[in-house]
Symmetry: C2
């Protein structure tokens, strides 16, 4: 089953102790697609400037990723810069040049309007609502957002949450959205708005899948070297949604496996800059790490 | 098999959003004993002032905890004060009155010198070394310490690490000791000093058990209300060492179960001030939460 993702396509400039990446491909829609495409076909809706060279994402074409929904607008592609601390879990944004992304009004191509699996990557929640208005009858809507929208447009974020099935937030966003420092009860407050599940991403500490009467937690895959955490959240979401779309199922085991596959893909993604690692990844690599996740969490 | 613990006996004054506890029993040795005693007999070595009223820890007598190694010295008992933030994972120390603890020179009673299971709670590492000199042939030495000793007496902490089998640190201490922000490789640096295992406590994010060729991770038991995290680390250690001493075994499954039992006991401890929760706890309560830990981490 195909997955539709609406999000950003960016050129990232990343600096940290391990090196530098200049104008390398990134953005939520591409990180998501790279990850989800291991499990399902993906249709991408986004925007780039006339300076965007599609050759740099040629690898996505071998993976059943349809880029026809990426609009090319007069101007420059969205650019983002980040500098990571020595503790790679922390970073500063060095610049944000929205460029053509500033006026992005996502139009969903007719061919995608019957999408059953939809991922609303982190964009303005008003646009996320407009995306949902264009989808006929989705089975599953998964939502990502960020602190910027929570603090500036909370009521609208809340509206999108109410129209989504699964919300993905990190721990800080969960606390900020609710004003509740206890993650579990904060999570339950978010569930009370209507979605079936909340996933709380905790970076190096893994992720939690919270349902009304269920709780599952998985660690991050242990890594001695994290080279570039950019895109970790979106590649997690890609693995998660991609797996669910492949299985066409939302039972307990499938959901839990999807969370673990998401974590596994994210763990590969952070081992190198941009898509360098995801480009080379094989299904066997993924499966080996999935089994390892089982081993390191199993009590006996 | 009995466990020997050498550590502090304190009267704590805790303040937070849920209330206040004044001069209530605490300290590493007592938190450890309360927890370990669910699994094994415990012998405690510590010091109190003449103002200490042993009646307030009467509950430990019903649990095979031998308090004969607690010396009573002229003066006042060690007192500590802490104030927790709205985010209960953060706290400030409001005062530290060492009192009789200032001159604590632990003498191990003859009856304890053949102890096979030893927990060195967080005290001056020079004293920890002196404790080890008085133990004849322990099977297992488990060590706790803190950032204060890591920054002020690192070389001596390193000596104690070399003479211990299992080290328990929190994530910040692990990073501080090694200067390495990556937890996994920092952990391996510590293992290279000689101990067989390192446990990294991560508060609300659970704990990691790291061996030379092994890795296990468990979440913290999910709680909607954490009322007082004081003693969480020591009650974790108590559950962990107590279980190992009962099982007299260090195989993979026993170690993993010990980590989970440690987490379970700590999760009860933080649900109320002082020992209020541990006093009432039953084996059935512990077992139920242990099974729940299995359920929330099991992929399928």
């Amino acid at each position: 089953m195909s997955v539709l993702v609406v999000g950003s396509v960016a050129l990232d400039t990343i600096e940290n102790q391990f090196g530098k990446a200049d104008d390398s491909p990134g953005g939520s829609a591409l990180y998501f697609s790279s990850a989800a495409s291991f499990f399902s076909p993906v249709n991408v809706v986004g925007v780039v400037g006339t300076d965007f060279d599609f050759k740099i994402i040629n690898f996505l074409k071998n993976r059943d990723v349809d880029l026809n929904g990426i609009y090319i607008e007069e101007g420059k592609t969205f650019r983002w810069g980040g500098k990571y601390h020595l503790d790679i879990n922390k970073r500063d944004t060095t610049f944000t040049d929205l460029n053509v992304f500033q006026n992005f009004k996502p139009t969903i191509p007719k061919a995608y309007q019957n999408s059953k699996y939809v991922f609303l990557a982190n964009i303005d929640p008003e646009l996320q609502l407009k995306v949902l208005d264009q989808i006929n009858d989705p089975n599953l809507v998964v939502l990502d957002t960020m602190n910027f929208w929570i603090s500036s447009k909370k009521a609208i974020v809340e509206e999108v949450i109410k129209r989504s099935d699964i919300i993905i937030l990190n721990d800080e966003e969960t606390r900020e959205f609710t004003g509740n420092p206890n993650l579990l009860s904060a999570g339950k407050e978010i569930l009370s708005l209507g979605p079936k599940y909340l996933i709380i991403k905790k970076g190096e500490h893994g992720a939690v899948l919270l349902g009304e009467n269920s709780f599952f937690t998985t660690p991050a895959f242990p890594l001695e070297l994290v080279k570039d955490p950019t895109g970790a959240g979106d590649s997690f979401a890609g693995g998660f949604v991609g797996y669910l779309a492949r299985e066409k199922n939302m039972d307990k085991t499938t959901l839990r496996k999807a969370v673990v596959y998401g974590s596994v893909i994210a763990s590969f993604n952070v081992e190198d800059f941009s898509f360098n690692k995801l480009i080379l990844l094989t299904e066997n690599d993924i499966q080996k790490r999935f089994e390892k996740m089982r081993e390191i969490t199993q009590i006996e």
